[in-house]
Symmetry: C2
Subunit: 159 residues, 2 copies
């Protein structure tokens, strides 16, 4: 694995992950109803940091291989939707509006897992925790829409 490639993919995840630092869960999120199985708050940054390291490793391995077009294209799709989700959920507070985004992210991560596995076993494996985590996040998102039927999105134009 080329260390410079790893650093570049890690830079991309840093860009996406910065949304988590700039749009953190605050009093609004704390006040929402959550299902009993909601993961504890400390787990979120731990999970995301691990996932970002793993997918940077996966990207770096696959970037060096011939015939990586689809894997690389899906890698780009997942990082774009990953960066988009957080500001829509925690910034605009759109519980429903963020659902198609996490749905698209889930599909992109599934496609990454498959296309990376086709090129390199360890790269494919490195995407599995991400797929599991986004599945959990999607289920959590759906549960929170049901449990908070009266939540209104934030209207930035009114501020």
């Amino acid at each position: 694995m080329d260390f410079m490639l790893f650093a570049l993919f890690l830079a991309a995840t840093f860009g996406a992950g910065t949304t988590g630092a700039l749009f953190p869960p605050g009093p609004w999120y704390e006040g929402l109803n959550k299902p009993t199985w909601v993961p504890p708050n400390w787990l979120f940054p731990v999970a995301w940091t691990s996932i970002y390291l793993l997918i940077s490793f996966a990207g770096a391995r696959v970037a060096g291989l011939d015939g990586n077009g689809y894997a690389m294209a899906f890698w780009s799709v997942q990082i774009a939707f990953n960066a988009l989700w957080t500001p829509v959920f925690f910034g605009l507070r759109r519980l429903k509006g963020s659902l198609p985004i996490i749905g698209a992210l889930w599909l992109a991560v599934l496609s990454c897992t498959i296309t990376h596995f086709q090129l390199d076993f360890w790269a494919g494996l490195a995407f599995v925790p991400y797929l599991v985590w986004v599945t959990v996040a999607t289920a959590l998102s759906i549960a929170m829409i049901r449990l908070n039927p009266n939540q209104k999105p934030l209207d930035l134009n009114a501020i």
Copy 2:
């Protein structure tokens, strides 16, 4: 060029571009002081749509080539920082805080231009308008920081 690859890179730009639709320039932006040379509002969506089409074309051409690792890694970096910038500027209203993001985006786009040119002339050329536009956007960003010294970022926790 593989049309499916083009569609995938276009999907990635759609994810990043959705931030522009969800965090549009509203009354807050209209009220800011701007330099005399600020581009007219209608030009922004036209420029971004053209750029997204061009870089999807570039990504699709390069994705099919051997030795595309660095080009593909930089493509991912630019789309992550592209998606990050809009919510920080128009959502959090961080004039200064968004500057390192657009700086990182500029570097990523420059690196994309170089690495795409190395593999394919047309792919490299397709990145040039993006580089020009982000240069203008960076200059505009710096001018607006100077012209609006008393702007305070939005505090989401206070809402």
